[in-house]
């Protein structure tokens, strides 16, 4: 997609702007507004129960009657008693500001004032989100490094050996269609029974997920030099190794970065799923704990932190990509 053409077209049509807001902001604001509205029917049962206890008259008077009524009907019939929708203790859907509060309290407040926080104990609190995010990030990065290295090595092998190309490549493609994450709990348990635990099992799953995007992208990239360039190398009487290091690898860099962005997002998913079976910290463990104890705000906070982490990782790779390509003179 050519960005220049897109911006040109959008400038012509920019008369459609709504209230003069930039479109992304408008969509995000719309989503937040929708979220606030959705909180009311999602939490109406709990809200009305609390209102009833506080002595407010509620239309179907008992909780049993209300259970069978539709959520929207309850909202419309009890518009006077909905004040607590956005401030419940254990809501089915926490309001956006509750999630932000939870995020703030489990990071900044926990670390500065908590008994086990950074200020008082000198290390990140194991009840705070930063500790769990670092655990996940560690596993993600180790797995990402292992997976990427193995992927590049295998891609080099595939490009240079026809046997490997013909025998391994079809399986690599087939394995893309297999829900690999289903293996996660088994890998964890198997490695645990061999005595390997902690970071490594999660990293193995991360590596497994980030491996194939890199293989597929790198094979494409290493093969991207065209016949003319390969012929030039041949006229120089270049060895296979020289062709690899001076032509194939530099030519594959854009492909490498494109697949690294996919791979890093996949390895974060792998690390989170890998944390589900073993409750030893990490954002995945935090989400599962939140769902066991009905702490919905905690799940949402962990989810948003995971999203932030994914965005950060992809952004970091994009930044490195831009810098590398510019130094190599490959950016247009």
């Amino acid at each position: 997609m050519s960005d220049a053409a897109v911006t040109r077209r959008s400038r012509i049509k920019s008369g459609t702007a709504w209230l003069g807001l930039p479109p992304v902001l408008a969509v995000i604001l719309g989503l937040i507004a929708l979220w606030y509205v959705a909180v009311v029917p999602m939490n109406v049962q709990e809200t009305l129960t609390r209102a009833e206890r506080a002595g407010v008259a509620v239309t179907p008077a008992t909780a049993v009657d209300r259970r069978d009524a539709g959520n929207w009907a309850l909202v419309l019939g009890n518009t006077h008693a909905l004040g607590e929708s956005w401030s419940l203790d254990r809501p089915r859907l926490p309001a956006p500001h509750q999630v932000v509060t939870e995020l703030y309290e489990s990071t900044w407040v926990e670390e500065t004032t908590g008994r086990r926080g950074l200020v008082r104990s000198g290390s990140f609190s194991n009840r705070g989100l930063i500790h769990h995010a670092l655990v996940t990030l560690n596993a993600t990065l180790v797995g990402f490094l292992i997976g990427t290295t193995l992927g590049i090595v295998l891609a080099v092998g595939i490009v240079h050996s026809r046997v490997m190309d013909m025998s391994v490549m079809p399986w690599a493609i087939v394995s893309q269609t297999i829900p690999i994450v289903a293996l996660a709990p088994m890998i964890i348990v198997v490695l645990y029974s061999v005595g390997v635990q902690g970071l490594l099992p999660k990293a193995v799953i991360s590596a497994y997920l980030s491996f194939f995007p890199v293989v597929v992208g790198m094979v494409k990239g290493l093969r991207s030099p065209d016949g003319m360039q390969m012929d030039l190398m041949r006229t120089y009487n270049a060895s296979t190794l020289a062709v690899l290091f001076k032509l194939r690898l530099p030519a594959s860099v854009p492909y490498l970065f494109a697949s690294l962005k996919i791979a890093v997002a996949a390895s974060l998913v792998g690390a989170i799923v890998g944390e589900l079976p073993v409750q030893k910290g990490g954002l995945g463990a935090r989400m599962l704990a939140g769902s066991y104890y009905g702490q919905t705000a905690q799940i949402w906070a962990a989810l948003f932190l995971a999203a932030g982490l994914a965005a950060l990782l992809v952004w970091a790779i994009a930044a490195i990509e831009q810098r590398t390509l510019r130094r190599m003179g490959m950016t247009p």
């Binding site: 479109p23 026809r162 013909m166 269609t177 088994m186 989810l303």
Partner: protein
């Protein structure tokens, strides 16, 4: 020990045959293209069997393929019920709903430029997020049944499908659109006769990516709570009972389904987009 030596003998034989096939005169024929990966896969399976039995690896760590096959054959009824619960009810319904919703949104996004500029960056961003993480929330909302799995799948497939379809709808060149304009074609006619056909390769690419995501979503969501059947439930409970044969059987079911769906989508792609350069040999 003889088993292990046998495994290496098998490896050498398989490798030699593949070497001969791949570098021989017939390496470009369809038969060789099929035979080489099949020999490779068979070699791996035989080596797995021989090494695991030869070194007396405990079944808890890695069962031999024969044990997995026996376990699969003994539990076909159970696995079929799991298949219906997870794949047909959870993954398939979610996949259809999610892809249809993404397709409709893509048409809207394409029609209204403001929406495109607002939704597309967000869609690109969301497509990279670990959406599996919403599984505990959705299980809490929609209960342990297949509905919650379908909801997770809808969320997981929506954004990749949206991004792909929108990219496909922008695939036509200005020249082609101008031609439709000179024909005085309406927006609907241009869509039907030019832009939808041009978008099809991208739509199929989206369908391929999301078919795997749908399976992952349905299985992982079952780790957060499920009725007493389903592939994810089977995997997590069988691990608890250290019945690794059944775990591997469930994984085999998931793998076969994934490959079969991918094959079906590829077949449909071949029939629909026969005109595309990538389909012509």
């Amino acid at each position: 020990m003889t088993h292990v030596l046998g495994a290496f003998a098998v490896w050498i034989i398989g490798f030699a045959v593949n070497l001969r096939l791949a570098n021989g005169p017939a390496h470009d024929t369809t038969a060789a293209r099929l035979a080489v990966p099949l020999i490779f896969g068979a070699t791996i399976l035989v080596m797995w069997e021989l090494i695991v039995t030869g070194l007396d690896v405990p079944q808890v760590i890695l069962p031999p393929p024969s044990h997995i096959a026996a376990s699969f054959a003994a539990n076909t009824g159970l696995l079929w019920a799991d298949f219906v619960q997870t794949i047909l009810k959870g993954a398939l319904s979610g996949w259809v709903i999610g892809c249809a919703a993404a397709f409709v949104t893509a048409l809207l996004v394409d029609r209204y430029d403001y929406l495109r500029r607002g939704l597309l960056p967000l869609g690109n961003f969301m497509a990279a997020l670990p959406i599996v993480g919403t599984a505990p929330i959705l299980v809490m909302w929609f209960g342990f049944g297949w509905q919650s799995k379908a909801a997770v799948v809808v969320l997981m497939v929506y954004f990749p499908m949206l991004v792909n379809t929108v990219a496909g709808l922008q695939e036509t060149s200005a020249m082609q659109r101008d031609l439709m304009h000179t024909y005085a074609a309406t927006w609907g006619e241009t869509l039907r006769k030019l832009r939808l056909p041009a978008a099809m390769p991208f739509v199929f690419n989206g369908l391929k990516i999301t078919s795997t995501l749908a399976l992952i979503g349905a299985i992982v969501a079952e780790f957060f709570g499920s009725p007493t059947q389903g592939l994810g439930f089977r995997i997590s409970t069988s691990i608890g009972q250290l019945d690794l044969g059944l775990v591997w059987s469930a994984i085999v079911v998931a793998a076969l389904t994934g490959t079969a769906v991918y094959g079906l989508v590829t077949l449909a792609e071949k029939i629909t987009t026969f005109w595309h350069p990538s389909q012509q040999r």
